[in-house]
């Protein structure tokens, strides 16, 4: 059981680290991967994570209006919303993809996000249970 959480350098990693400093506990199935900004996350990361066995993929970024790079978190949300709709069309569980906001000084926002992710990673159908012999490299033809 593993869920990938992409955290942005600022609020995402900040709140995850604050949760650590305050010794708040959350489920170890949460695996954090750092990106400079939520806007860096694209569909290829989400699909890569699911095809490698993730149960849920989420992005934790800055609050809307507080993105350090001024607005890139909004862009990430739109890409993820399209993916959620795609999942729905195929019968997979759209709740397994999400975008959460967090505040760097507050550990409890991250822990709340983590709990929600763990809950949702058990719902509905997970894509890629049928893993085919895909040998496609990222970006390659």
């Amino acid at each position: 059981m593993s869920s990938i959480v992409f955290t942005c350098d600022n609020c995402g990693s900040g709140s995850a680290n604050t949760a650590g400093v305050l010794r708040m506990e959350y489920d170890p199935s949460i695996k954090i991967i750092r990106v400079p900004c939520a806007g860096r996350v694209g569909a290829n990361f989400v699909m890569e994570a699911f095809s490698d066995g993730a149960d849920a993929v989420s992005v934790v970024g800055c609050c809307l209006g507080a993105c350090h790079y001024s607005g890139s978190n909004f862009v990430a949300m739109r890409r993820l919303k399209i993916l959620k709709k795609l999942f729905e069309q195929l019968g997979y569980e759209p709740d397994r993809i999400n975008y959460y906001t967090a505040r760097a000084a507050e550990g409890d926002t991250f822990v709340g996000d983590a709990e929600d992710i763990v809950k949702k990673s058990k719902s509905g159908e997970r894509p890629f249970d049928i893993i085919l012999k895909a040998d496609d490299k990222v970006g390659g033809v």
Binding site: N17, V35, P36, R40, F45, S72
Partner: protein
């Protein structure tokens, strides 16, 4: 040309912080099995000299060209380990940090789970390490000039210090005069000095300093660019008085027919539509309040130097600066929301700032303490502390400002000194008087006969016939309910973030904390840095503090702002976007994705301005061919990390 990776893996025990939950020996053994890891070991404290030497020796002995350290967060010790690589002539970005403390050992209870999670984090870090690249450092010239927003005591100190470092300063202040709240005060604790006397030399110094350009009665309306190259638009509002010609004789105000409550005097005094906010205002010129001026022309008639000019319009000035200091100050909390205290309803219930404008020598009473309702000398004075502070309820603030106790005591003492036959009572929850001379100040107040009652008043009642006020409070030491008659009640209302600060925050792109003040980068180690590079915080803009601390904070911000500019250049690590021209098809979809405007078209293909690029990576997914990538966070570097983190052990 990249060499074959030779990775050294080091895991830190961090005392028991990591080793308590993560089986570090097992992680070391596991790491040895990962691709290109040629050396793996553990140490009690990797950040110590011994730990650092361990890395140095391993680099030399095993010819390492990359390091992975599993330890605390990269914010904490990333630079420590990167420096070691630099000293060994390896590009510092060949270091990868795996966070197994804040994100593993400190948040996972079960030892087996923590170890397994640490292993997956390490696997991901090694996968990234195998794909790291050189990041070069570029020398960028910076604009050797700074912007200071706000001319209160912190902003003024910041401006002077920066100017004295031979860096030009644009000082912007939105009220008609510099000086801020300090000019409104009567005395300052703990020495009971006159604040106008303390600050006057500073006001004059700022006024005459050739390196400081004053933009008074002006506002910052737009900020763009980055550290070293900020483009700022300042709107100067028209005074309708020519600053060069006005001699400050005051005849215009004498003849102006429009009278208003003077906001600077907390509405006790009056001013005219043409006014100077206070006698020692700098610049020493008059201003016409356009909202209330009726354009009767009386001032024009009496102005000998012909300084009145109704043709003035607002001016927009554009400046380029290298760094910005935000010193926008605070507002006093408005206790009107606490209806049981009747502020705004009962004229004899005032705040501490209101009191300053009664007892100050330049006040409408000439410094005599009089009850606002009837102008008589109050004999029963009650001071209430913690009004609106230390309270989780809605409309109030949970924090303690740390200054109200001291200025509450100060004004209680002043009142007691002036009204010898009066009774001064202070209702408090705790008295906070930290630091040298402060506890002594409190003791002195007790010795002068001020009654200290430990209890928070529940309400202030007005007798319907006599209109006299009574303060109901429980003396928690005696266990008795008291009803104190009061001719004057002074509320110690705390400090809050000033109105309009949200707009500045979004123009500058810096974060505010949930209390509303600007958020510092690190509460202990970086109190003057904002959340954005090149923008610094000075004074109460960052949080409640007294004047001493504000001055120190402002000087700290000045130092930080100047250091950046002192060399005339900064070195930027190029963790920026880069375009593969073979893949770029010139569709231009990356341009709007960049919030810095760092992408332009050149010869039909995309080109990135490395100085403006902030390295966020939002452009990367917007490219349909994968032509644009971010150095250090390329698809080839992150995707293997995802794969390895998820692989079952």
């Amino acid at each position: 040309m990249v060499d074959e990776p030779r990775i050294g893996f080091f895991i830190c025990h961090c005392g028991i912080n990591i080793a308590d939950k993560v089986d570090v020996k097992r992680v070391v053994e596991y790491a040895k099995t990962l691709p290109n890891v040629v050396y793996a070991t553990d140490n009690m404290f990797m950040c110590s000299t011994a730990g650092n030497d361990l890395i140095r020796d391993a680099i030399k002995r095993y010819n390492l060209n990359r390091t992975v350290v599993a330890s605390c967060s990269v914010e904490q010790h990333g630079p420590t380990f990167m420096r070691i690589l630099e000293e060994e002539n390896i590009n510092p970005y060949f270091h990868e940090q795996a966070n197994v403390r804040e994100q593993v050992s400190w948040v996972t209870e079960d030892r087996e789970e923590a170890t397994k999670k640490a292993i997956s984090v390490v696997r991901g870090a090694v996968a990234r390490a195998n794909n790291l690249e050189r990041i070069d450092r570029k020398r960028i010239p910076v604009e050797k000039s700074a912007l200071v927003i706000g001319a209160g005591v912190a902003g003024l100190n910041a401006a002077i210090d920066i100017a004295e470092s031979d860096i030009s300063v644009h000082l912007v202040e939105k009220t008609p005069s510099i000086g801020g709240h300090m000019t409104m005060l009567n005395k300052t604790f703990p020495t009971d000095e006159c604040p106008m006397c303390s600050i006057s030399p500073l006001l004059n110094a700022v006024n005459i300093n050739s390196n400081i350009k004053l933009h008074i009665y002006s506002e910052v309306i737009d900020v763009s660019g980055t550290l070293g190259e900020f483009y700022v638009k300042i709107r100067k509002m028209p005074r309708y008085v020519d600053e060069e010609k006005c001699t400050s004789c005051g005849l215009c105000a004498d003849h102006c027919p429009v009278e208003l409550y003077n906001e600077w005097d907390r509405k006790f005094g009056v001013r005219k539509a043409i006014y100077k906010p206070f006698p020692q205002a700098i610049p020493s010129v008059y201003t016409i309040d356009d909202k209330h001026c009726i354009r009767c022309g009386a001032c024009i008639d009496v102005c000998e130097p012909n300084a009145i000019d109704f043709d003035q319009t607002e001016e927009i000035i554009e400046v380029k600066v290298g760094s910005i200091v935000v010193a926008t100050g605070y507002d006093e909390y408005d206790p009107a929301v606490i209806e049981e205290y009747g502020y705004g309803e009962y004229p004899n219930v005032i705040t501490q700032l209101d009191f300053e404008r009664i007892v100050s020598p330049t006040s409408i009473t000439g410094g005599r303490i009089l009850s606002p309702s009837d102008g008589k000398i109050p004999k029963e004075i009650v001071v209430i502390q913690c009004v609106g502070s230390r309270d989780e309820q809605i409309g109030k603030n949970p924090y303690c400002t740390g200054v109200c106790c001291m200025y509450g005591i100060k004004n209680a003492k002043i009142a007691k000194d002036q009204i010898k036959d009066g009774n001064v009572t202070m209702c408090y929850i705790d008295i906070r008087s930290p630091g040298l001379l402060y506890e002594e100040y409190y003791k002195d107040a007790q010795e002068r006969g001020i009654n200290f009652i430990r209890g928070k008043p529940s309400e202030i009642i007005e007798d319907p016939i006599t209109r006299e006020l009574t303060v109901k409070v429980e003396d928690t030491f005696m266990g008795k309910m008291l009803e104190l008659p009061a001719d004057l009640i002074i509320l110690s209302a705390g400090m809050v973030a000033p109105k309009g600060v949200g707009r500045i925050s979004s123009k500058l792109g810096i974060l505010r904390g949930k209390e509303g003040f600007f958020k510092e980068q690190h509460i202990k180690m970086a109190p003057v840095n904002s959340s954005k590079a090149g923008v610094f915080l000075a004074g109460t803009a960052q949080g409640p503090k007294d004047i001493t601390t504000s001055v120190a904070h402002g000087k700290g911000a000045a130092s930080a702002a100047s250091i950046l500019l002192s060399r005339g250049y900064i070195d930027k690590d190029l963790l920026t976007a880069v375009v593969d021209l073979n893949l770029c098809i010139g569709c231009r979809f990356c341009e709007p994705a960049c919030s810095y405007g760092a992408i332009q078209m050149k010869d039909g293909k995309a080109e990135v301005n490395e100085i403006s690029c902030g390295g966020c990576g939002t452009c990367v997914p917007s490219c349909p061919t994968g032509a644009i990538q971010i150095r250090g966070f390329r698809d080839e570097q992150i995707v293997p990390q995802i794969r390895e983190v998820l692989r079952e052990v």
